[in-house]
């Protein structure tokens, strides 16, 4: 069955559980990694938007990478950053229009959302279902990210 990751900002309470799930999920040598998802304030009352990579079709990060470290993963549909190939030039960090390719300065690694290889931890931990990982048939068109 094919799954989709959905983000429904109106349900987000800004609790930041997803950040924790993400950084534990992407730990490096037992130390927490930088979170790839950021529930941020919008300036509107009780409204947060979990900002996370949109896995763009014509992605700026892919175009900016001069060593082809960023590639579409045919299995998950995500754009994955190959840590071994990346030379940490910061081009993609500077190029992503949404700031979703970022530096994990604790580990000196450039990182981005990979949907945890196809089963995003944030969606499992989100208490309000603002983030969901669900079968594609149950996703309303407008919701799909």
């Amino acid at each position: 069955m094919s799954y989709r990751f959905t983000v429904s900002p109106h349900l987000c309470t800004g609790c930041r559980t997803c950040e924790l799930a993400c950084s534990f999920m992407h730990a490096v040598e037992g130390k927490r990694g930088a979170t790839r998802i950021h529930p941020l304030e919008t300036g509107f009352k009780e409204l947060w938007v979990p900002v996370v990579c949109l896995q763009c079709d014509d992605a700026a990060c892919v175009k900016s990478c001069l060593v082809d470290a960023l590639k579409r993963n045919p299995e998950t549909g995500t754009i994955d950053l190959d840590r071994e190939v990346c030379v940490r030039c910061m081009a993609c960090v500077a190029a992503c229009p949404f700031g979703c390719s970022l530096l994990d300065d604790q580990h000196n690694l450039v990182v981005k959302c990979d949907l945890c290889g196809g089963d995003p931890a944030c969606a499992h931990f989100c208490p309000t279902h603002a983030l969901e990982w669900k079968p594609i048939e149950t996703v309303k068109r407008k919701q799909a990210v």
Binding site: P9, H10, H38, L40, E41, T42, G43, F44, L47, W48, V49, V51, A60, K63, S64, L66, V67, A69, D82, E84, V85, C86, V87, R88, C89, M90, A91, V93, A94, A95, C96, P97, F98, G99, C100, S101, L102
Partner: protein, 258 residues
């Protein structure tokens, strides 16, 4: 797919894949200073040496640099036999003599039990092991701003004519990936200097944080069709901007519904 034996264990790999890539995937730790997956293997540091043999070799074996050795069916590999460790110790011993003040080499040598060189220490040297990783990465990125110049004792990495390199964009990938951190650069507020060339760093128009160099951003806009406007704001402020603009839409919908 081919099958080979590594340290007594049967392992599957793609035919023709380099042995070091297989070792890495199998989480077998072999030192490799001049290796980087972004570039072609080069075989400069020799530290990734392993012992190979085959059933039909009747007990004979060979010692090869795993970064440059394509796997084939029936290969039998030993990554830490006494002989291999001895070879690595000799290489590290030589490295220690040439680069007595290099912490990265001292650490690796220590792991192999080499704490003092048995050769004569070279005076007045530096920490560059001449592995060419910096120049290969610079080539791979399409700049070719630096290369090795000279031969023998005089060989070194430098820009053309040892002058500030016109093709450098200040991406710092050479310094960032140098295995001995030999390549220096100076960050000063809104400027960075590398290879004796000074670059202006872009600063976020919202928060003032510095990002990549102006030259690098211009290169990316020109050659990779990245909207120059993307570079005006740092990644953190762009996330905030996205939250605000998405918030506007969600809020509008929310108000419509209530």
């Amino acid at each position: 797919m081919v099958s080979l034996t590594i340290n007594g264990r049967i392992v599957k790999a793609k035919d023709g894949e380099m042995l070091l890539a297989v070792l890495r995937r199998e989480k077998i730790d072999v030192p490799a200073m001049c290796h980087h997956a972004a570039v072609e293997p080069f075989g400069a540091c020799r530290l990734c040496v392993v012992e190979i043999t085959r059933a039909e070799w009747k007990g004979w074996c060979d010692y090869v640099t795993s970064c440059l050795y394509p796997v084939s069916p029936g290969l039998i590999v030993n990554t830490h036999s006494d002989k291999v460790n001895e070879l690595r110790r000799t290489i590290l011993d030589l490295f220690l003599a040439r680069h007595p003040d290099c912490p990265e080499i001292a650490e690796l040598a220590g792991e192999y039990g080499v704490f003092k060189t048995t050769y004569e220490t070279v005076v007045g040297g530096n920490n560059c092991i001449l592995c060419g990783l910096c120049t290969r990465i610079c080539d791979r990125m399409g700049f070719t701003a630096i290369s090795t110049v000279g031969r023998g004792h005089g060989k070194e990495v430098a820009p053309p004519l040892r002058q500030a390199p016109p093709d450098c964009v200040g991406c710092l990938a050479c310094a960032e990936n140098c295995p001995t951190k030999f390549i220096e650069y100076k960050l000063r507020k809104k400027r960075v200097t590398i290879w004796e060339r000074e670059f202006e760093l872009l600063t976020c128009t919202k928060c003032g944080k510095t990002t990549i160099t102006k030259d690098f951003a211009e290169y990316l806009s020109r050659h990779r069709a990245i909207d120059a406007g993307y570079f005006e704001i740092c990644d953190e402020c762009r996330r905030k901007n996205l939250a605000v603009s998405m918030g506007e839409i969600v809020n509008w919908e929310r108000e419509l519904l209530t």
